[in-house]
């Protein structure tokens, strides 16, 4: 049986301050606008409060939040797709939200969903594929494939702007 922990307001606030930017960016990659991102971030922390997971380290805590945020965003999007019968409405809504980001980030967040968190963790947070595999609880080969495929797309779309070392 896994341990659980009821957290005080202070503890929750500390966790929020530590990881809010990371979680916000991951959620933004999926939701593509600030209003829905805020909802997704809140849902992620609500899940933390409800599930009361016990973390062995700060890294464990961060990995849990990243995974949870990713799953919550995917669920929200799935829910939208199921509810929105008119695809045109959805496309219009998505295009109107693009204005909140610059062109380079637009290309990143337009990547297929499965690459988004991996790309964020690799390019922004600076994790390697082994670390990302641990965080996402996925095989290293899968993560390497995702990165390879995402890199190819970004190279094609960004051209000279994509100068990976």
């Amino acid at each position: 049986m896994s341990k659980s922990k009821v957290r005080t307001d202070k503890e929750i606030e500390e966790i929020y301050m530590r990881h809010s930017n990371t979680i916000y960016r991951i959620c933004f990659a999926y939701m593509k606008n600030h209003v829905d991102t805020e909802d997704a971030v809140q849902e992620t922390f609500f899940k933390l409060i409800k599930s009361r997971p016990f973390f062995e380290s700060k890294e464990h805590e961060k990995a849990w939040l990243i995974r949870t945020a990713t799953n919550i965003c995917k669920n929200i999007l799935k829910h939208w797709w199921m509810k929105r019968e008119n695809i045109d409405d959805f496309c219009n809504l998505q295009s109107s939200k693009k204005k909140e980001t610059d062109d380079i980030l637009n290309l990143v967040i337009e990547l297929p969903e499965k690459y988004k968190t991996v790309v964020y963790l690799y390019y922004y947070e600076g994790y390697n594929s082994v670390e990302i595999a641990k965080i996402m609880k996925k095989p290293q080969s899968t993560i390497r494939n995702y990165l390879h495929e995402a890199r190819a797309i970004l190279k094609e779309r960004l051209g000279d702007d994509f100068n990976e070392e």
């Binding site: 009821v6 957290r7 307001d9 929750i12 606030e13 929020y16 809010s20 930017n21 916000y24 960016r25 933004f28 600030h34 991102t37 805020e38 971030v41 809140q42 922390f45 609500f46 409060i49 409800k50 980001t101 610059d102 380079i104 980030l105 990143v108 964020y120 690799y122 390019y123 922004y124 947070e125 600076g126 994790y127 390697n128 670390e131 970004l154 960004l158 702007d161 994509f162 100068n163 990976e164 070392e165």
Partner: protein, 264 residues
């Protein structure tokens, strides 16, 4: 962690972060949820404790009831166990010499064309008329119920079909199942549905009652037959006590007479 890979992507991502007002909004909503969850958890813990307490009380009560029931069953079982085997004392061991003049003859409590049931201070006898022998005997001696008169006497009754015999005093109750030759001590006779009403009438038949060599009592059965129990003595006396010779049963049905010598 390794070094960042693409500056332009990093710069773009850096622009994405919650505003101060957004941070305040999100944090206050999260803390509000934490507080309500905390109170809910507290309430749930109290409710869970109460539930556990109730279950423990219920479980305890059930356990006590179960223990009591098992105890009663065990007690009943021990009380109703077979305490002796019928015919543990054979007819030949009854000791003919124990019959002395002046002691009451066995009393007949049931009789039909198949068997006669009678008792005296030593126990209950079942005599099979077809096989002409004693087939059942409940011995009163090992259970100290030989007193059939006086204070706290042993009462003996046969069921109207002759299948069961009750014998009891103020302290103990026994049930003798004649059909399967089994004797049990019982707490009461509540479970017995058989009719134990008196079906035997003692009658006087004029005859040679005055003879010193014979003493007899006659009973009238439900089916109208007459059964006489006759104790035959040897006319020779020894120390002023007549010697016992035998115990006879005479059954008379429709003016036809059948004689049975119990101890051959």
């Amino acid at each position: 962690m390794i070094s960042m890979k693409n500056d332009k992507i990093i710069i773009s991502w850096n622009k994405i972060k919650p505003s101060d007002s957004a941070n305040e909004r999100m944090l206050s909503a999260i803390l509000e949820r934490n507080r309500s969850m905390y109170h809910r958890n507290k309430k749930e813990i109290v409710q869970r404790k109460q539930k556990i307490k109730k279950m423990l009380i219920l479980f305890g009560a059930c356990f006590i009831v179960a223990v009591v029931i098992v105890g009663i069953l065990m007690f009943n079982k021990s009380r109703t166990s077979v305490i002796m085997s019928p015919l543990s004392v054979s007819a030949s061991e009854l000791g003919m010499e124990e019959y002395i003049f002046g002691v009451e003859l066995p009393s007949v409590i049931y009789g039909d064309d198949g068997r006669i049931i009678m008792y005296d201070f030593r126990g209950v006898y079942v005599y099979d008329l077809k096989n002409e022998k004693l087939t059942g005997y409940a011995d009163f001696r090992p259970i100290n119920m030989t007193l059939i008169q006086g204070d706290n006497p042993t009462f003996v009754e046969a069921s109207s079909d002759g299948k069961l015999v009750k014998f009891y005093n103020n302290e103990k109750k026994y049930l003798y199942d004649v059909e399967i030759n089994e004797i049990k001590e019982v707490i009461n006779y509540n479970e017995i549905t058989e009719d134990f009403q008196e079906g035997v009438v003692e009658v006087f038949i004029a005859g040679d009652k005055e003879s010193l060599s014979k003493e007899y009592t006659t009973y009238k059965m439900k089916d109208g037959s007459l059964i006489a129990v006759i104790l035959v003595f040897n006319p020779e006396f020894e120390d002023d006590v007549p010697k016992y010779r035998n115990l006879y049963l005479i059954r008379e049905v429709n003016n036809e007479r059948f004689d049975y010598a119990i101890f051959q």
